[in-house]
Symmetry: D2
């Protein structure tokens, strides 16, 4: 299956950028979860285009549930969430049908779907599709929060400009500080410098990418599976589903190649509440694929958006001949600051799935009616 | 499920390090595939301990099929592959039961399985379990090879010592050069320098890790799915199932944070045989999660082995008090040179699964009897 | 998962009887299938209430696609289909919340969902939910028809009134005769007698059930799997998903207990076009779970609708005390004549899933763009 | 997947009749379940050939675990169970390769696997494969028994000879009486009459089938899902995986076509311990796919074994011409008395899967370490 995920639930994210609607269907959630619609709205706001740094397509993102929701609670049956698209401008995309944008999905969608894809606005490959994903993630974030688990993502580095890393000794506060639609950095000074980089790229018809850092606070020990359903496996499978995300590393990550084992190993200093306490956390709270109780910390890289206004080399698919491409329409010079809530969303989805798989973990404690 | 993977087949890898056997069951392979047992033996040889750089546990790794195999061909029913364990020394592990090794799965297995795990030799978390995985991968590598697709992995960097990167203009030759049990580097000079690093770590009772580079030659365009079953998603989910692997990046990877879009985009120069030809390949042959026909290239990091002989801080699980740990037994000072065939194996498994999902892709061309 | 099915696709049927909408999301269909909307309308018409024999709730059943459909063709991405509910009357259901209807899902929904279920109109347990299922089935019936495979279901027996069985030597014609919204019998005389039975039950505030017979014409040999994914397994799993269906038998079915093997065995008289030809077809075209090329023929039983107007014994869930129940609202005295298109729908879904699993079977011949 | 089942676990049953071994791999069982090997042996004994009524192939059925089992307990990792085959006589099967037995899987295996199937002894289609299934079922029966849930199956009818039906008011005793390798009937007098029927068929080179009745005692309410993962769906999918089983009906089953709703509905007389109490149990303890707490009762039909010694009409697959077939070798004149433990096994597997899906149901109460 293509846009469907979940082992203990089935989540299908649907929609095309310029189709009638985007949304999701989620089958497998227990009955009796009170949905916090404001949390969903907050996450959607984090994803929205921001002023002049972003596309000028503005969608109200008003949502409704078509099923599975009654009197403020989940009913235990498939939950269908829909946002109608309203601000499409499809004419901008007609000439792209023959001239694939370099490093965009135009050619690969053509190779896969043979011309039947909805090419308008990037179709199912558009960042617009992450709207439903963010909304679904907001529900799983609520569930985790009710167990004391919180997630946050900030921009760690954009070219030469770095934000400070998460302070793992004060992680709850750092994560809480990111829970608003503001530009997601921990050091206020990083915002203006990064905004300047984005604006500069925009002025040149170019784009920029960034390294993002994500942390999960409050993880219990014993979650995850050995081998293929490790925390790293489940998280990375969903993270790489985010358009433009091209790398994932946990803890010290690629830096492990520079360390001897005696440095890479996190010395154990105690056990508290069933969780391991270690002197360092190079292993990101995960050993053998399973959580040890320390924070889960990972970084990802979002590549520069491929839809740039500079002239580029491509081929004409109708003739096979080289061609020059100059695109029009509304495109973001950077999407990483908007993507951070998508990272949070898939992190919540992956962790909830693993915890639901540990029989009764989430629900037995919850008094949920399906427990 | 824990040790079971596959969407178009079901592959369960089973065994404990000191249990009776390791192996796999593979359900979903078509009938009529002639299995090349020498290819399976070659891949198992690549994984075997190598001289003084490795553990002194030596297993003959003689295998047999219990089902699904008849007269040299697959029968279309579940294929069961078994290697009996013979060279276990379990006494070395008894004291580890109370004293978890830092950054090993000892504590997390205890937290998850509550003491019922088979702790001997690391149990199901041991690298020994990858034996079955490598054998399964060898079968999928045969299938891919019959379609002209080959895979190779080498050590790109171990601390300050680097091998040269793959030459994408002569990729088939680079991959072919790695298809032997020799130390997996492209530059012969890198071998002695890296061996020296490993021996030095060994002499100090320490260990080392490395960055690995993998390339896939011969990929057709149009394989993979948008979003969560992208090539990156499927590959990374299996790659992170390899013990000690802590990072995955495709193409330019984390380097994308340093590039403008105009550099990150791979200019399109032509189409040949349905495959895109691009000037650079920063995007690793994958756009929107789907192959464009250029080589798939990614790097991974294998952390230093956590079982080192230096004294380490830990806690005694029976008392909760701090304790000092000095381990004995047979442990590798480095496993990355052995892990490369595990990377090849999971790459083959993930790509075959995606191609089987594209209806008829592999088999319709194959004359397979199940096609 | 609860309302999600499919191995080679993921089909989630959603909605509550009195919620905003019913529909489905189908992920996994190839791109480039031209959808025949008239076929969808025809199947929905077969399911609609019929005159005075049925509930007086009348829905226009106007549908739209929210995603995955563009320019008359599937795009290869999730296909979302929605029908808004318009004719709900929820007040009739309030008193049922405390007084479960005998042999209805009222009590079991309460036991499972703990009061959070949407009880109005039976919620997710209502026959209304089969609307989306019938629409999804219509798409799979189109796909099968393009391969020469057709499906039909008629009422074989309602109490003492029987229709004639399918004539397997003229099966295509019998199936074609059923492809209209008319009362589904093969002998015109059976219609008036059965209608009289239903009206009689209705007059008494009671209800009736029936045995249905289904046939599949044009099946190739070699479809299905040994053991748990046999044709019988896959069909029955979906058939028993139809509310009120309580039995499934293939070919001679329970009559096999009266036959010696020499009679039960279908003598083989030839092979034509890769299909077996047998003198009898007691085994319903299926041996060892796999099709042999003869028609697939099975019968099912639909129990009388449990919502009857006669006074019934029940308990009051709020007090645990015995109570008398007299229901109001709009209820069918029989649903089997409407259910036949649901049987056809799930039959098509199950068979397509099995054929998609046989690599390339459906698509390689189809020129589908995902092939 | 073909021989793999389970939503909350993955169970692959492997082996060929004349291959090296039969068995299963089960991934997903929690750690810390103490396995009762005597229960496994008892169930295997129920399946064994019985005196002169059965095949003269006698296997010791000595089993061992290759993984996932340590110090008498499950470890939480894949559990691999193997029985080596020892008493094969393959020569009897050579002439069958060209002459398919009527109503056996010979032709359909050929159509599906194109000649690569292991035809010896029926290969993967042989009843021998159910050995692994019965062993796996014995483990799930242990788990259910620890929650007070027991399962039994007896022969209800063989031609004109009937056993009495289960006494639902004394169900635990009826089920307990069947828990031995003796001939499975409730009325001792039925045994001699049925044995005479089987011996008569055997003397004529013919075979017989039977209707089986199964009951589950101790089911809690609220297990099962609406629609496609109903108790009926999950049970029937596995039941139809049993070779020769051609019909399944729950409660009144096909008899519902003869009842008005007022008779078919089970009047509710009370609630005890969260379970419904009804005057009758025509609906087999299941409403809307979900258990109501009354016993689950269903009947199935096992067709006569197709391998009879009388001459039969078939075709020669090498020439396409009609041919006469007279088979040799060791074949059962009836298998229903041996099949009853296979029915119990798949019933236990299906019910455990549904209960594991209800988060924490089985394990939270169990003190399991994975709970």
């Amino acid at each position: 299956m293509r846009s469907t995920i979940g082992k203990n639930f089935s989540l299908t994210v649907f929609g095309e950028s310029h189709g009638p609607a985007v949304g999701f269907v989620l089958d497998g959630l227990p009955a009796g979860i009170r949905l916090d619609l404001d949390k969903i709205r907050l996450e959607l706001d984090k994803r929205k285009p921001q002023g002049k740094l972003s596309t000028q397509r503005h969608e109200a993102d008003e949502f409704r549930f078509l099923s599975g929701y009654y009197n403020e609670y989940t009913t235990g049956t498939p939950l269908t969430f829909v946002i109608e698209n309203k601000a499409q401008q499809s004419r901008d995309y007609d000439k792209l049908k023959a001239l694939p944008r370099p490093s965009h999905a135009d050619f690969t969608a053509y190779a896969k779907y043979g011309g039947f894809q909805d090419h308008r606005g990037g179709g199912h490959f558009s960042g617009r599709i992450t709207t439903g994903l963010v909304a679904a993630g907001a529900i799983f974030e609520q569930i985790l929060a009710s167990h004391g688990i919180t997630i946050g993502t900030h921009i760690l580095r954009c070219r030469q400009i770095s934000d400070r890393a998460f302070d793992q000794s004060a992680l709850a506060a750092d994560i809480a500080a990111l829970d608003s639609p503001a530009f997601p950095v921990l050091e206020p000074s990083a915002e203006s410098a990064m905004r300047a980089l984005i604006e500069e790229a925009q002025a040149e018809g170019d784009s920029v990418g960034a390294v993002m850092e994500t942390a999960v606070h409050g993880m219990p020990a014993g979650i995850g599976e050995p081998m293929f359903h490790s925390i790293e496996s489940e998280l990375s499978a969903l993270l790489f589903g985010i358009p433009a995300l091209k790398g994932v590393q946990f803890g010290a990550g690629f830096g492990f190649a520079d360390m001897p084992g005696s440095e890479a190993n996190d010395a154990i200093t105690g056990i508290e509440g069933g969780r391991l306490v270690t002197r360092t956390n190079h292993n990101a709270g995960i050993n053998g694929g399973i959580s040890n109780g320390m924070p889960i910390v990972f970084s990802t890289v979002i590549k520069p958006t491929p839809s740039i206004y500079k002239e580029q080399d491509t081929v004409d698919l109708t003739t096979g001949q080289p061609a020059k491409l100059r695109i029009e329409g509304r495109h973001d010079p950077a999407i990483f600051h908007r993507a951070r809530c998508v990272i949070d969303a898939v992190t919540a989805i992956a962790l909830c799935d693993l915890m639901m798989g540990r029989y009764g973990y989430l629900w037995a404690r919850n008094g949920g009616d399906d427990a």
